[in-house]
Structures are given as structure tokens and as C-alpha cells.
Subunit: 550 residues, 2 copies
């Protein structure tokens, strides 16, 4: 398949660049953000100088008969000037079957390797796929030495269009995902990256094993710290592992929705701006709403219950939840994506547990079976053991859990809550004894929110549960109080001003079915499924007590 040259190239003959070789491998971790900004500014200046130099060069390169086969495309040419209907290929689709075909691709210039004045390699990347493009100066191919020079002078991560012929390499390629090469006929730069990036993508993509191996060999590789990654998230997101993580996240949400829709749940959207103080407690973001005090919802809890009162029978919501907690841990965020569900129950909140069992088995199966490429990609940088799960999850009472901890030497206040440490220990104990994750149910009423239904036989306990995955609490759920009298009583006992939630409580006076539900954080599901060590790795632009940008 032959494709026309881009209009940009044919209209005004684009200039060949003459930027001198510049190393783009600069250690980034050691740079403070300020320093990096300074560098970026310096780099911009350098780039502008290069552009000027390039313009001067134009006259010289006019001698090149192939000058129209390469160059920087001016921004005006990419301002929706025309629709050429040229056919573009996807890097990930390029395989042996494409050999001999002329293809046109656009991608990030991941690596640029000059071999000689007459030869160079440029690796182009699209998402998780990379392909090696080969430039060899040859009059037959319409490739000049100036064109090779232009390619070798490209800055890493620039956006580059390549037109060329797919060929099969003599030896297997190690550094690209695609096992074909492109013999470049034309190459244009669409948008230059600054020559000095604050993060080097190779550094950001290394596994712990690579670091160890290098250290054993006496080599010191640059580590990109978590904060540097997040400061320059738009670069960091390009690592193969990050490309995979957020595709996995999207699949978790898809399967969450699909499964619940198949069980007659309706997806809803509840307001995030609410009056009063959400569910009480201090961890609330407050603001003024057209002169009225308001806050950001800590969960869709009260609204999904009102939707049940509104006759929706089974509802779910995927949306942001806000917690103004000053928790600087590996598993807390100030804003995360809540996966919430609420459903009528006929007689027991185990009906909710059954839905959870089916739901998470369906999510985990889907990931394991249909996201192999993504999981392997994550595994390469962050190796992990596949998650073990049962079709029907083990259930333990809170009392049994406390007892197991006690027998293992950890004394827990029987009516108190488990701290993270005790939780993790219990997770380990259960895994050792039963080889699986588990539901823990019948928590003390005092450690659950006011809307939790007390146990029928002992009101010191509640009809509530948590689910543990890899020994960490991930899902919380319960039967809810469905009568206004008990709800008012419980709210008052929990110190909540019932006036601020009056329309919520009223909803239960107008006919309210017994119901229960659960909530889980999307980021935590991905973090625990992939055994990542920090929830910031599974939030696209995380918010923690210190971080509000980018």
C-alpha cells in the first residue's frame, strides 16, 4: 500500500534540521523540580537556537535533491489544513505479514541511534508497541546523508511521522516489541520535545532486578523517584508498565459495570456537592456553594440509599470520592474513584456478599484471560504473584479473626477496629491456614458508620463485612438501617446533627425496602491485583495531602 507524502512536506519543501548531536540521557532523579524547570527553560532556549540554525541551514540543504523527504513540519501545516485521506498504520499491527508494504506511522521517537553518517536507527513508539525504523543513505531509496543527519538530531520523545517499507530483520530484535523494521523513505518531525527531558524513559521503565544486576556489575543506574515521576506525569505515563496499569484499571471498571448491569443494576450519578457534612467526621472538604456552606461527598452512600428508596432496586456508581484525611500512607488518597453498589435485600446481607463473589471472580477472570499483554508488561517492571481467589470466598466472623490474632500473639481490643498492621497479620494468618483471601463479617457496631444495621441478636455487633485481598482490607459493605426511627437514633448516638441529613432520613418514611451494599476503591483493586506497593501508581494524577498538581 503506497501512501501520498504528507501535504506539509510537498507544499513548502520542509527544511532539514542541522541540530548537533545532543545527549538526551540526563539523570533526572537528582534534580529538584526547580532545577528541572530551569533546565527546561534552558532547553527551550537551546531548541529555539537550533530552530534558527535550521532556518539558516535551509539554503544549504536546498542542494539536497531529497530535501522534501524529511524536515520539521511547521505547526501551520497541522492546523487542520486539509483532509488527505492518507492511510495510517498502527505500530502494534506491524508484523511479518506486512513485509514489503509501504506504511505511514506517527509515534514518539523513543530512541535515536546514529550508526554512521550514512545510517541511523529511530525507534518509534505508540502506547505499548515499538518499531525500529532504519535510515540508510541511498539515492535509490531517496535518502540523503542530510536526511540521516536530520534523523539523528531529533530529540527523544519528539512526535515523528515515518513513511517506509516494512522489512524483516536478519536477527530477532531485542529492543522493540515488533519483529519487523521499517526502511525509511520519508521522515518528518511534527512536534519537537525539548532536548533535555526531566525524566529519561529508559530509567523510569527499569525493574528492580535490572538495578540490582547493574549494581552487581558495578554500574550505577539512575532511579526515578515517585515524586519526580508524578511531577512529570505526562512523561512517566509513557512507560510500558504505566500504559498497562491504566488499561487494566479501565478494564476493572468495564467489568464492574458489565457484571452489575447483567444483574439488573442501574448505573447512577449522585451529586458530589452536598449540604451538611456528608457522613460526618472530620475528613470532609468544605466550601461555599452560592453562599451556603457545602462539602464534597465522602462517598455516594446516602444517595445510593435514596435511589433504593426511589424504587431503583439495584444501583451502582463509579465516581470520585473525597477524603480530607491527612494520611500519608501507601494506600490512602484524598481523592479516589469509588466503585459503589447498593441493592434491595430480601432477608440477609449475605445476598450482597454473593454479588461481590460473582463480581470479583468475573473481574479477576477477565483480567487474567483477556489482559495477558498488559499483565506481562506490568510484571516486567513490577514482578508479582498472580492473585489467588475462590469462586466462593471464605467467610470468618470478626470474633474468629480476633481469636486467630490472639492465638498468634496479637491482642486486639475485642470491640475496637483493626489497624493496618493487625489487618495484614490476619491476612497472612488466614492465607497460611486456608490459602485464600476472605470476607470478615459481624464487625463491632461502634467501628462502623451510623447507617449500618446492628445485628439482630447482639446490637454491639453489626451486619457488616470487609473483604481482604492479599491480606489488605479492600471492600467494605453492610446491611443498612431502613427505618427512620432507628436511623435517627443511630445518627444521634454517633454525634451527627440529624438536621443536616434530614432529607436523607425522611426518605425512609415514605416506603423503604431493606437493603445493603458495598464500596471499593478502583485504585486499590488495581494496586492489590497487581501487587503494586503504592496506590499512587494506580491513580492517573494522584491527590494526597501534599500533592495537588499536576
Amino acid at each position: 500500500m503506497s501512501s501520498e507524502p504528507p501535504p506539509s512536506a510537498s507544499a513548502p519543501p520542509a527544511a532539514a534540521a542541522a541540530v548537533d548531536d545532543m545527549s538526551t540521557d540526563l539523570a533526572a532523579t537528582t534534580l529538584s523540580k526547580k532545577q528541572a524547570k530551569k533546565d527546561a527553560r534552558k532547553a527551550e532556549k537551546a531548541e529555539k537556537a537550533a530552530q534558527r540554525q535550521q532556518q539558516q541551514q535551509q539554503a544549504v540543504d536546498a542542494d539536497d535533491p531529497f530535501a522534501s523527504h524529511y524536515g520539521d513540519v511547521p505547526v501551520e501545516e497541522i492546523q487542520s489544513k486539509a483532509v488527505s485521506n492518507r492511510v495510517w498504520s498502527q505500530v502494534g499491527d506491524l508484523d511479518a505479514a506486512a513485509a514489503g508494504r509501504t506504511v505511514l506511522i506517527r509515534g514518539f521517537a523513543q530512541a535515536i541511534r546514529p550508526v554512521s553518517k550514512k545510517m541511523a536507527f529511530v525507534v518509534l513508539r505508540q502506547s505499548m508497541s515499538t518499531v525500529q525504523c532504519v535510515l540508510v543513505a541511498s539515492a535509490n531509496a531517496g535518502v540523503s546523508t542530510q536526511m540521516v543527519k536530520f534523523a539523528t538530531a531529533l530529540s527523544k520523545e519528539s512526535i515523528v511521522d515515518v513513511e517506509g517499507v516494512v522489512s524483516l530483520p536478519k536477527e530477532p530484535l531485542k529492543s522493540t516489541t515488533q519483529q519487523v523494521e521499517i526502511q525509511v523513505r520519508k521522515i518528518y518531525c511534527i512536534n519537537r520535545a525539548v532536548p533535555t527531558l526531566p525524566i529519561n524513559l529508559e530509567d523510569a521503565a527499569r525493574s528492580e532486578a535490572e538495578f540490582e544486576k547493574a549494581e552487581q556489575g558495578g554500574e550505577k543506574l539512575v532511579r526515578v523517584g515517585q515524586d519526580t515521576r508524578l511531577n512529570y506525569r505526562s512523561i512517566d505515563l509513557r512507560t510500558p508498565a504505566n500504559q498497562a496499569i491504566f488499561r487494566i484499571q479501565c478494564q476493572v471498571e468495564n467489568k464492574f459495570r458489565e457484571y452489575l448491569l447483567s444483574k439488573d443494576f442501574v448505573g447512577i450519578h449522585s451529586p458530589k456537592l452536598i449540604g451538611g457534612s456528608s457522613e460526618g467526621g472530620a475528613a470532609v472538604f468544605k466550601l461555599m456553594y452560592n453562599g451556603q456552606p457545602a462539602c464534597l461527598a465522602q462517598s455516594p452512600q446516602l444517595y445510593k440509599q435514596m435511589a433504593i428508596c426511589g424504587g431503583y432496586e439495584r444501583v451502582f456508581e463509579v465516581g470520585p470520592v473525597f477524603r480530607a484525611e491527612n494520611s500519608n500512607t501507601h494506600r490512602h488518597l484524598c481523592e479516589f474513584v469509588g466503585l459503589d453498589a447498593e441493592m434491595e435485600i430480601k432477608e440477609h446481607y449475605f445476598e450482597v456478599c454473593d454479588i461481590i463473589d460473582g463480581l470479583f471472580v468475573s473481574i479477576f477472570k477477565h483480567l487474567t484471560e483477556n489482559c495477558k499483554k498488559e499483565l506481562e508488561t506490568i510484571n516486567r517492571q513490577y514482578p508479582f504473584e498472580p492473585l489467588k481467589y475462590l469462586d466462593k470466598t471464605l467467610k470468618l466472623t470478626y470474633e474468629e479473626g480476633i481469636q486467630m490474632l490472639k492465638e498468634a500473639g496479637t491482642e486486639i481490643e475485642p470491640m475496637g477496629d483493626l489497624n493496618t498492621e493487625a489487618e495484614k497479620k490476619l491476612g497472612r494468618l488466614v492465607r497460611e491456614k486456608f490459602g485464600t483471601d476472605f470476607f470478615m463479617y459481624r464487625y463491632p457496631l461502634a467501628v462502623r458508620p451510623f447507617y449500618t444495621m446492628p445485628c439482630y441478636d447482639n446490637t454491639a455487633y453489626s451486619n457488616s463485612f470487609d473483604v481482604f485481598i492479599r491480606g489488605e482490607e479492600i471492600i467494605s459493605g453492610a446491611q443498612r438501617v431502613h427505618t427512620p426511627e432507628l436511623l435517627t437514633k443511630r445518627a444521634t448516638e454517633c454525634g451527627i446533627d440529624v438536621n443536616t441529613i434530614s432529607s436523607y432520613i425522611e426518605s425512609f418514611s415514605y416506603g423503604a425496602p431493606p437493603h445493603g451494599g458495598f464500596g471499593v476503591g478502583l485504585e486499590r483493586v488495581v494496586m492489590l491485583f497487581c501487587a503494586l506497593n503504592n496506590i499512587r501508581k494506580t491513580s492517573l494524577f494522584p491527590r494526597d495531602p501534599q500533592r495537588l498538581t499536576p
Copy 2:
């Protein structure tokens, strides 16, 4: 299929109620919220008195050999006491094929019609489905006159369990969706509604035609105003039209996701808490974030672009967006659900328009073909003409639009924006001339946000577009600026402090592909598809400048 009696009934013989008949048809619209609250309190007192009376009655009803076949189930019995594995039927599944079967259902008591001391009807509702339950006192059936009395004394909208035998009525039933009846054998009240509801569901479900017909007959029916509906949203949501509207909304979102996923988009979640001032302008909710000034995102715009810079190629997001605008119109909300997408483009933003064409045709087709029941239900209360749309939407330039308006006598400032009135008029003109909705593109740069790409041939115009449905602007989109230099220039020209968006602008220095995208409000799509007259009808719990509750 026979089902066991509920544990509640067999364990402690439940008491038969002896509440006197009480009319529950009370006009609600004329009540202020305060009055309604007072009434609700009064009603609660009345109910408690009724409960006491009922307890006293227990002794009397002990004579009834069928006393265990009916009664109020105490809340303790519904606190997850046991799992009985009883089989429950769905009202919507009850058809002639079920005749002769014993079924167990739970629903809202929508209507209670006493016929005599020996006979009564109770209509049970689940979501959009209703079924008539018949009580006839008979020793053979285990139904006593006390049981009939208990049923007639139920308050409307109470949650009721019925066990009975499905039978075929002699004549077609007009007031229920299901064409079978249930011959009641057992009836239990699970959770009573207050006797006097602030909204009567029948009133809330009437169409304009019914009001007119009644008025012509000299009858005055109660109208439930929009504010009353929203004040008591958990009742209002039970009307058939509202049950349908939010199911349609869920389907729009599903199809939006499905279509974009099929086109290799990745679903993302961007932060709603952001530093700086979002996209500028006054319509921003501000708050303090752990001591730092922050605001709520007016759209995921900057983040979906950073995801494109992060190598995601095509992304979409479904999530809340916040606008602190003081707009009290039929089509503005302070919080709504944004459907946003952003994608790399190769050369022209019409590539985005093509995606929109395919996307909305797929959504509209899906609704028309697979949501017939919901659309008919909405149509019964709010009649509307089906939406007309083409597979390839008509495109007009802004200049052409202005010209059409001019020819029809409406003079518009050629470089200004259209107001709603002009928009609607243009929509009418285009429909008259072309019989369709349309894209309008090439808007003046000055009326579009700073990140909009100017036109290559005239920078007073921009590579932007709006889509009109039923003559109202609904989708907005554009090519975006993808170089840091132009972006800085445009932000500065638009009066935005570039320091507050520095990490956004920086993202374009590290390799940024040309891209474009669009955004649309979920509530507006549903409103315009169903030709509803107010966006509050398509928001579950709407937020406008006046409303922050429930």
C-alpha cells in the same frame, strides 16, 4: 412453585394490624416544605399511635386462626437473621405462563382498594412493573376478614411481601402493567410508609393531556411542582417516567463507553480537586486543600490532554464537572456528568467529528431499538417526537450560520457568540431547510477557550465546532493547541495566569501529538433525546444555584 412462609411470620406469630382507613390522597403541591415536614411529623405520631393500637389488638386477633398469614414484620426479623433460600419472583416476569403457580413477591404498595369487608385489592409495584393482588376472605384459602382489614389499612408505598397464586383475570387489567392477578394467601408489611405522603405518586405521574382532559371535564387535578418533586425526590423517582429516564441515562453512558472502547479509547479518571483556577473564568468553586487554595475542575480538559501527552492516544472520561455559574435556566446545572473524549488527530479535527458521528448514531440507534419500553413509558407522561438524525451529520460553518440568521432577520455580531435564543432560531432554520440537526464549525477564536487551535488561514477563527440537537447546542469540540509556545501565548491573551497551569503547559514540551476532542453533558443528551423541557428532569439529584439538597 410453592414457597415457605417468611421466617418472620412463622417464628413469633405476627400481629394483625387494625389501623383505621386513612385516605392517603393528599394534595402535595400546595404545601410548602415546612408544612410538609409538619405533616410528616404529625403522620409519624399517628403511625405510632396506630402501632400501639395494633399491639392492643393482638389479643383480639389471637382468635383468628389465620393470624400468622398476615401482619407487620418487626424490624428484628429483617436484620439478617437467617438465609431461608426462599425463591422470589419479579413482578415484571409474571405473565399468563405463571398461572396456577404460587409466587412470593416484595414491592411498594402502590394502591389499596377496599371493596368490602371480605374483599380488597392491593397493587404491588417493582420499578416500572405493577401487579394486582386480590384478597378474598375464605377459610379454604386461609384468608380471614381480619386479614382483608389489615391489607386495606396498609399505607400507600409501604413495602409489602405477598405470597399467592397467579391467576388470569376475566377482563384485561387497565391499571397494572402485568395481565395476571395474584390470589393472596399471605401478606406482610415489611416497612410502613407514613400514612400521608408529601407527594401522591398518581399526581406526579400524570401527563399534560390528562390534566387538560380533567379540566375540560371540570375536574381539578393536583399538579406536583418541580420543586416539590425535587424536595421529595425519593418519592418522585418512583414515577414510571422517572424510572425510565434514569435507565435511559444509564444506557447512554453504557453506549458511549462501549462505542469508544471499540474504537480503542481508554477510560480514564482525572482529578476533580485541582490547584490554580481550572480553565480560568469566574465560574469556579474554590476551596482550601490542606492549606493550599484549590478549586473543582470545570471539565477534565487539561487532564485528558495530559493523558494524550502521556501516550494514551485516545481517552474518554465520564465524571462530574462543576460550574459555579449563577444560571437559572432550563439547561444549566452547577454539577453535571461530563462525557469527555480526547484523541490524537493525524491532520484534521474532522477526525474527531467522524468519531462523534459514529458515536451518537450508535447511541441513538441503541436507545430506539433496545429501550422501547423505557421510551414508551416516558412518552406516556411527556410525549415527544422521535429524534431525527443522519448517519453523517450536516456541517455548516459559523459564517454560514450567521448568514442564515441574517437572512431570517436576526443580526449577529459576526465575531461574537450565539445566545440561546439565536441558537434555537438557527436550529429551526436548519431543520426547515435541511430537515436535520448539524455540526457548526469554525467558530470565532475569541469565543472559544484558550487551548483551542486557531485556523491555519485566519487566526480570528478557530478549529472548533458545536453539535446541535433539536436546535440546541449540545456537544462542543475542537482541535487543541499542541505546542507550548502557542499555548502560553493563547493563555496569556485570554488573561490566564500561566503560572497556575505550568505543569499543563510543560506537558507539551516533552513530545505532544496533535489532538482534538469534545465534551457533552450526559443530562443534556437525555433531555434532548427525549425532548424534556428541563435538565432537572434528567439529573438524579440536581444542583442549581438554589438547590444543594437533597
